[in-house]
Amino acid sequence: MALSKEQIAQRIAKELRDGYYVNLGIGIPTLVANYIPEGINVVLQSENGLLGMGPFPPEGEEDPDLINAGKQTITTVPGSAFFDSAMSFGMIRAGKVDLTVLGAMEVSENGDIANWKIPGKMVKGMGGAMDLVASANNIIVAMMHTNPKGESKLLPQCSLPLTGVKCVKKIVSDLAVLDVTPRGFKLLERAPGVSVEEIKNKTLGKMIVEGDVPEMEV
């Protein structure tokens, strides 16, 4: 069965390592914070100028000066630090953020990503996404494997305007975990009960299957 959004987030959380600095994008990536494994300490970066982001505030304790990059009211954890947007993107560009998780509309087999613009639709802007994908050493994309029409979002080439080129390292979709390799998408894990065949059918880009592909543990 395909994973829920929560389960995608849960699976991505297993990629976290103790001491990681992590930037979580809007949507499914945000949910990853709910599944940080026991014994693992990570520091969440919000690109509007915060290291050490905590959970949403209790009702009545919202602080208008304290928001995340999704403009939601949040809190800090002990040891947090505020800084300006130049330093925030400075640390992102300098590769100090260990893991970046974001959503995508399309990913190509060479790691290109499209997630900011659909021609003909109102374009809201790229926000910090182009900076993040161009800078991060370690990008995991959290996405549905297909669009609502059932068409693959893992493509030979992106059809939408690009956000960044050759930057995605790993994809966790509702159906599978895949690495982006020089030879194409490499299938690492299947969602419980989802066959390699089904994943193949729903992956338009080149996909490599080597040996037995285990089911994810979620």
Partner: protein
């Protein structure tokens, strides 16, 4: 040396039609509410506004959009505003979308006297069109120019009469960068104090960058996305 002005009206009085403005803030967080209100009352037109976002329909830069005072927005994300969308689709409003880090760094470049900076954001995408792309150590970067703005309008938490500013929490965002980048910089603060009352170790914007300062009134500090957790 007198940088203190009585109020927002006085601070913005020489901002004329066609001016290029930088406005601090991220979403509605840390925006110069008093100065925006004064610009709306003044009715100045054909403005180019450099700001990460464009406010919402009834707050922030949205108030200026409603009065059709803005000719062009330079922003990274503009999604929360129906009037904005209408003006954009009708061609009344010009919009230049640039990556958020590029926006920040082009402000920094202006404040630090660097004519242009290299950033990888947007390399290989349509953002690169018409820009110089240059490879360093195997990676492509775009050459992005420093912003030039007639006025930077920022909001700080505390400031002194010499223009030294301190921001609070994530309301810092673009404010210190824009404060450095304006030809003329206007700062509104929640609390204006005398020189010596702020610890010189923790000044975010040294007064040299600030030309006018006033204590704002009636800060609304509207929350755009109120999110809470269920447990205490």
């Amino acid at each position: 040396m007198n940088k203190v002005v009585a109020n927002a009206e006085e601070a913005v009085k020489d901002i004329m039609d066609g001016a290029v403005l930088m406005l601090g803030g991220f979403g509605l967080c840390g925006i110069p509410e008093n100065s925006i209100a004064a610009l709306v009352r003044k009715g100045v037109k054909n403005l180019t506004c450099i700001s990460n976002n464009a406010g919402v329909d009834d707050f922030g830069i949205g108030l200026m959009l409603k009065q059709k005072q803005v000719k062009k927005m330079i922003s990274s994300y503009v999604g929360e505003n129906a009037e904005f969308e209408r003006q954009l689709l009708s061609g009344e409003l010009e919009v230049e979308l640039i990556p958020q880090g590029t926006l920040a760094t082009r402000c920094l470049a202006a404040g630090y006297g660097m004519p242009a900076v290299f950033t990888p954001a947007g390399a290989g995408t349509e953002v690169a069109a018409g820009k110089e792309t240059r490879n360093f150590n195997g990676k492509d970067y775009l050459l992005e120019s420093a912003f030039e703005a007639d006025f930077a309008i920022v909001k700080a938490w505390k400031g002194d009469t010499l223009g030294n500013l301190i921001y609070r929490e994530t309301a810092r965002n673009f404010n210190p960068l824009m404060a450095m980048a304006g030809k003329t910089t206007i700062a509104e603060v929640e609390k204006l104090v005398e020189p010596g009352e702020l610890d010189p170790n923790i000044i975010h914007t040294p007064g040299i960058y600030v030309h006018r300062i006033f204590e704002g009134i009636n800060y609304e500090k509207r929350i755009e996305q109120r999110t809470v957790r269920k447990y205490k």
